[in-house]
């Protein structure tokens, strides 16, 4: 007996007669692995019947008997005891049995049809004897296939190369009830499983569909393949779905209503002999027709790119297979295969395997187990021990006994199993199963050790124990494919190649080349991989990284592999991805180091993992969904998604005027070792954290089957959030911490894994989450800002008296303890002292205005500059306003009146800012014409006010110009003209010159007009901040000081028709010089409208806002009686 110490599957062979009975058990590596193990342990029974030379096999409808038919004999075998031939009936025929099929109907289940050359025989089996009851002869050439009708128990279809398809009712054996004539011979015939009238036949590469009620011609032709079709199968549920398997290595799926369109296609490397739908889920089982390709492949129809499972173990071509339906008490199916080497194999296809094909059990068994920290992670080995050579010959009974003995030796305290087991039973498999249960229950670390020793002992005996790794074999191939596929998407600079693949040793070598590095990594998979053991990684020759980096990388790889394998998932793809990303972070080493390290090969984690109880490193990444999807998802399949940056989990943002919004990871997710200043501490890209991406997709897979352009790569994600903390980048942060609540979490994991959402648990989880992740702190950081809301609220504006304004604001600043600002404002007040203005200055020095004094403009500018440095935009903007000039008609109007009141004091050059004429003028309203025209007639109008200026200032101008000898006109086209010149329509050349001339005299202002743009920026900035504070009034006041015109209105503009003179007016006053009245009259109260007005956009009637709202509170139509339904009409106007 030979025991592979690494565990896994152990096969014991006992020779009995010339039959070889092989039992295979795979034991649970640990109790924790229970689920995963079940997934992979396709226990199977092999019975060889070399003497039968059977060419085909048929399983009866009860699943009890198997008919093995060949040229020499027919044999009946009990499925439960396949090694024993119940009855063997010799045949005297020179023809092989072409096909055989039991009647699928229970009350005719004793009948079995076999075809042999031109004849079809119907046999009856009565548990004892097999008798021929009917013989159907009509075909003139060999019958190639036959098929019982699914609904009519007496109907049987047979097809032949004689081009006829005959449908028999076996009660009349003389001739078929229907004979369908095709031009070419048929190789396959299959009744539709839903529609009782429809059947399909295969003719070389074509398929014909027949409705046997209309036998003259086929109802449909399908040119399915270019090569011969070997197999046909209808879907059991979808009436029109047909699958054809062909020599051309494909299986094609057709909707027979649309024969030109291949709905789906499955490709393999070898010709496909049979492709049949699985009785569970949406699956397809195929067998190949090439020597060496002896495995049966199970495919899920949802993804035909790769098989979901392969049943490996047949040593020759599989001739026939069938499903034994589940017993009532469990959902398992058994797959029964008959291969050319005359072996009958029975495989268990459990629920997990069925699920891969989309099968969804109604009652999901709840698996509850405790996560045990001290659980050893080792594949326990169940073996058949034999006490002596002599006993081997005793046979099955002995085998069973030794099982029990073994258990006794392992765990003496166990209760002897129930009598059934002792009494001996039909199959070895059953006893093994029972024994296994006992062993599982009693397996503990101590007993386990005993187990090992027993096995070691046994290994000396030398009975053939062989490790079979069939379950993983397939995944190995798939993994290699995955790695290879990685190569195409890792980017231009990188390459991944796989060489030296050895399937039997399960090892491979990958060569990874990046821009800087080359890495040669030997990977070998222990037999228990991926079910607990992790792959071994050894760096090969030709690496360009130093030993230090190697060990680092190995550590990472091991960690990744461990996490993946812990869940029983293949990890190679992930490992390579991780490797790629970690290489990126390395720096190249110099040559010498490479040379020296060349001979050092790091061997990691010997393959005896099975014997070494290794504990998972305390990464804390014991998160339920971490790597759950394993091979299902590859985030790297899309190159661009590889570079999604790692999400921010903390941040701080300044918002609004003085707020700081902070969010961060909750304390339990903070990293313990954040002090280590290693760049790799926080990953840069999301793809590094596979857990996150895979978990993202995990939801989607579970939640939605919609296909998107991205396919698996990025399927639509479920809308319902999961409260599962694991589905998060938080898993990354957890790896520094040991999970305290492991036990409870693992329970959650299980429930979530089995996709049965445990609402209660989720609830509690939610509340916990609720507290933890969602905290955002809003700080008031205005203390840090050079701004103060209180000041903004209380600051005053005055364009009339700058000194007053400054004094007032100084008081405000003092009120809030801002001594610095109090000082500045006081200084401002001094600067603006009226006694310093030109008027008082004239007799001293007309040539030097106050602004040019070092304590004038220069001082003001340096103050502003200082506050700009401090970023105190509030003070800066306020100073700019205090010493700036307003641009507003109303202000000017007011100024004019006050000026006329105040008399001659203001008749001089008003350097007092508020009274200066050097304000900016709205371009649209300022034309030379209006200046001149309105000179005579004073009114409230804007242009008149300007004219008023002219009058007011004439004396002052004279006095100033006496020194400068400027013409009067030059005063009137002052500096502001430069501002508006672009918009003045008819400025004469002379005027331009004059304005330029005047520009030289702009020195009169305390704020240098040169920087007006800058000052405006300050004002705008402050206005924006005031807006944020909600101080709208203050904002408007600030904006009034803007020297540059505001953008012209570019939206819808309403023009009113003057009520009196019918002139079109855009303002509050009629522009018609002869009218000049308020153009709007209220239709209700007949009084002119000033202020809020409301009008119907359709009929144009309206008036005071108040009047209108009163009216329309009760009415819907126009108050004038024009018939307009104003409310309704306006609604439609605005809804457009």
């Amino acid at each position: 007996m030979r025991v592979d110490a690494s565990g896994g599957l152990v096969r014991a062979s006992v020779v009995q007669d010339h039959q070889l009975v092989v039992m295979v058990r795979k034991f649970e590596p640990s109790s924790r692995k229970k689920k995963m193990t079940a997934k992979w342990s396709n226990e199977y029974v092999v019975a060889q019947h070399r003497d039968l030379q059977a060419s085909t096999m048929a399983l009866d409808s009860s699943g009890q008997y198997v008919l093995l038919a060949g040229r020499r004999c027919l044999a009946i075998v009990d499925v439960d005891n396949p090694s024993v031939v119940i009855k063997k009936f010799p045949r005297q025929s020179k023809w092989e049995v072409g096909s055989a099929e039991w009647n699928p109907h229970s009350h005719y289940s004793d009948l079995c049809a076999i075809s042999s050359n031109q004849r079809t025989e119907i046999l009856s089996w009565n548990s004892v004897d097999l008798t021929s009851t009917h013989c159907l002869r009509f075909h003139t050439r060999a019958v190639s296939d036959l098929n019982w009708h699914h609904f009519e128990p007496t109907l049987l279809a047979s097809c032949s190369v004689d081009t006829y398809i005959n449908i028999w009712d076996f009660r009349d054996t003389r001739k078929p009830c229907v004979s369908l004539s095709a031009v070419v011979g048929a190789t396959q015939v299959r009744w539709n499983r839903v529609n009782s009238h429809l059947l399909a036949t295969a003719h070389e590469g074509d398929v014909r569909l027949w409705d046997w009620r209309k036998g003259s011609s086929p109802v449909q032709y399908i040119a399915a393949h270019l090569h011969k079709i070997h197999g046909l199968d209808w879907s059991a549920h979808q009436e029109y779905q047909l699958a054809t398997s062909s020599q051309d290595c494909t299986v094609k799926f057709f909707d027979v209503n649309n024969p030109r369109l291949v709905e789906n296609e499955l490709r393999t490397v070898s010709p496909i002999w049979r492709a049949r739908f699985t009785p569970f889920g949406e699956g397809m089982m195929t067998t190949q027709l090439r020597r060496g390709e002896n495995s049966l492949l199970l495919w899920s129809l949802s993804d035909l790119s790769n098989p979901v499972h392969s049943f490996l173990g047949n040593n020759d071509l599989v001739l026939e297979f069938d499903w034994k339906s589940s017993r009532s008490d469990d959902d398992d199916y058994q797959l029964i295969t008959w291969s050319k080497d005359q072996s009958l194999r029975i495989w268990r296809v459990d629920v997990n395997l069925q699920k891969l094909c989309g099968y969804e059990p109604e009652n999901q068994p709840q698996i509850v187990y405790e996560e045990n920290e001290s659980t050893f992670d080792i594949s326990a080995i169940d073996a058949i021990s034999t006490k002596s050579d002599k006993e081997i010959e005793v046979g099955l009974e002995v085998v069973e006994e030794t099982y029990l003995d073994l258990h006794h030796s392992l765990a003496p305290t166990i209760i002897v199993p129930d009598p059934l087991r002792l009494a001996g039973h039909k199959t070895v498999a059953a006893s093994i199963a029972a024994a296994q249960a006992v062993l599982t229950n009693t397996l503990s670390p101590t007993s386990h050790r005993k187990n090992i020793s027993v096995l070691t002992l046994n290994s000396n005996i030398g009975v053939g124990l062989d490790v079979i790794s069939q379950a993983e074999h397939y995944s190995f191939n798939k993994e290699i494919d995955q790695i290879k596929s990685l190569g195409s998407i890792v980017g231009a600079d990188n390459s991944v190649s796989v060489c030296d693949v050895d399937e039997t040793q399960r090892s491979l070598t990958t060569v990874i080349r990046t821009a800087k590095h080359q890495i040669v990594l030997h990977v070998s998979l222990p037999s228990s991989y991926p079910d607990g053991a992790i792959p071994n990684f050894v760096f090969g020759k030709g690496n360009t990284i130093d030993t230090n980096a190697r060990s680092k990388i190995l550590k990472v790889l091991k960690q990744v592999a461990t996490l993946s394998c812990r869940k029983g998932h293949p990890s190679l793809e992930l490992v390579i991805q991780t490797l790629l990303t970690s290489i990126d972070q390395l720096t190249p080493v110099d040559k010498s180091e490479t040379e020296s390290s060349k001979n050092i090969t790091l061997s990691v984690n010997s393959s005896t993992t099975g014997n070494t109880p290794f504990r998972l490193p305390q990464t804390g990444l014991g998160h339920p969904s971490f790597l759950q999807t394993g091979g299902l998802f590859s985030s790297l399949t899309h190159h661009q998604d590889h570079n999604i940056p790692y999400p921010r989990s903390s941040g701080a943002r300044f918002c609004s005027a003085g707020m700081l919004i902070c969010f961060g990871r909750p304390s339990y997710l903070r990293r313990v070792n954040s002090k280590t200043s290693d760049t790799s501490t926080t990953p840069r890209s999301l793809s590094v954290n596979q857990a996150y991406t895979s978990s993202l997709v995990q939801h989607s897979l579970a939640a939605s089957s919609n296909t998107t352009p991205y396919g698996l790569l990025y399927p639509p994600v479920a809308q319902s959030p999961t409260g599962d903390p694991s589905v998060s980048i938080s898993s990354f942060y957890n790896q520094d911490r040991r999970q305290k609540s492991r036990t409870s979490k693992s329970k959650n994991r299980l429930s979530s894994y089995s996709s049965s959402s445990d609402e209660n648990k989720k609830g509690t989880q939610d509340t916990r989450q609720h507290k933890v992740v969602g905290m955002v702190t809003i700080y008031d950081a205005s203390g840090l800002m050079p701004l103060q809301l209180e000041l903004a609220e209380r600051y005053v504006f005055s364009d009339v008296d700058t000194a007053w304004m400054c004094n007032q604001n100084a008081a405000v600043a003092a009120q809030f303890g801002r001594k610095d600002l109090t000082y500045i404002w006081s200084l401002g007040a001094l600067l603006a002292t009226p006694t310093l203005t030109v008027e008082n200055n004239t007799h001293q020095d007309l040539e030097t205005p106050w602004a040019q004094n070092p304590f004038g403009r220069k001082l003001l500018h340096s103050i502003i500059e200082h506050y700009v440095k401090l970023r105190d935009i509030q003070t800066v903007a306020m100073l700019c306003c205090a010493f700036g000039y307003k641009c507003d008609s109303q202000e000017i109007f007011r100024r004019k009146t006050t000026r006329s009141e105040s008399g001659s004091r203001n008749l001089r050059w008003g350097l007092k800012p508020g009274e200066s004429p050097y304000h900016t003028i709205h371009p649209g309203d300022t034309t030379l014409e209006s200046w001149n025209v309105s000179k005579q007639t004073r009114s409230n109008s804007w242009s008149d006010s300007l004219a008023g200026f002219a009058d007011d200032f004439r004396p002052g101008i004279n006095s100033v110009s006496s020194g400068r000898q400027l013409p009067i006109a030059s005063i009137f086209l002052p500096y502001p003209m430069s501002v508006i010149s672009g918009n003045v329509p008819d400025v004469t050349e002379e005027c331009k010159d004059l304005s330029l001339d005047f520009c030289r005299n702009k020195d009169f202002r305390l704020l240098d007009p040169k920087f007006n743009g800058l000052f405006d920026n300050y004002r705008r900035c402050y206005a924006d901040i005031l807006y944020r504070w909600g101080l709208l009034e203050a904002r408007v006041l600030v904006l009034k000081y803007l020297s540059t015109p505001v953008d012209p209105h570019r939206g819808v503009d309403f023009v009113t028709e003057c009520f009196h003179c019918k002139t079109s007016v855009r303002g509050p006053q009629c522009t018609n010089a002869s009218c000049k009245r308020v153009p709007l009259n209220c239709v209700i109260c007949r009084v002119f409208v000033k202020g809020s007005a409301s009008f119907c956009l359709v009929c144009g009637h309206g008036g005071h806002g108040k009047c209108m709202s009163h009216w329309f509170a009760e009415e819907g139509v126009c108050p004038t009686g024009c018939g307009c339904n104003c409310l309704l009409e306006n609604n439609t106007v605005f809804s457009v």
Partner: protein, 311 residues
Amino acid sequence: MVSVISTVDTGHEDMIHDAQMDYYGCRLATCSSDRSVRIYDVKNGTQTLAADLRGHEGPVWQIAWAHPKFGNILASCSYDRKVIIWKETSGQWVKFYEYSNHDSSVNSVCWAPHDYGLILACGSSDGSISILSATAAGGWEAKKINNAHTIGCNAVSWAPAIGPNAAFDSSTGTRTAPVKRFVSGGCDNLVKVWREDKEWVEEAKLEGHSDWVRDAAWAPSIGLSRTVIASCSQDRRVILWTNDGVSSSWNQRVLHTFEDVVWHVSWSVTGNILAVSGGDNKVSLWKETVEGQWVCISDVNRGKGSTPGQQ
């Protein structure tokens, strides 16, 4: 100097990736890995959930409030490759526009200064930057800068409209149209400045980081011609880029090298304080002194005395 106004329990079920107050500081929007965007009314230290916006099919990375003059509009971007613009109409938040023309995760969204209209820039891991502008007809127009950052764009930030060029040019008497600019950072370790010149052109390429640039932020201007851009990177550094507004050269200055990767930089409204946050879950505030030095002020002791004349 900094006090907590309120602590908002957002109730998100997973990591929060961004949180922002609106223009007035009345509403808080947060986005999370749980695929939702939440809006809270924050008043007097209490908060009420105003909306829970669901529509993204992946984690939502960033959000951005539009200027209130366009209404209450919020943009969000997600791993699901979509940008969604949400709008509040009569008290209900609805999807205003959905843009799904990116081929990978959209990592950053930023609204242009309101002066330009309703314009949104989006940076995606597919390397491109999209500029979405609302048209007068009520639709949206998208311009795309393909391959803006070769491996992926991680951040976009608009230049303030109040720049040196936005000023009124008194010599010619005409208003020069403000030039639209924004800065972007990407996986090619570069920070790029883009200017609209009919089409978007790359105006400057700022090389200085040695790893992925995670965020870039254009400092608000208070009117000076000098412009500053802060960028942070996986290389744990924050770099301040300054331009004098006259030449086309940018000066580079490393603010600090942090202990962990730096994810986010955010300017205060006056542009003199920079909030830096990163992978170590810490926030530090940096302030420019009158002398032009940058000091960390989140550490109270060090911050003292650095701001004369201020409280």
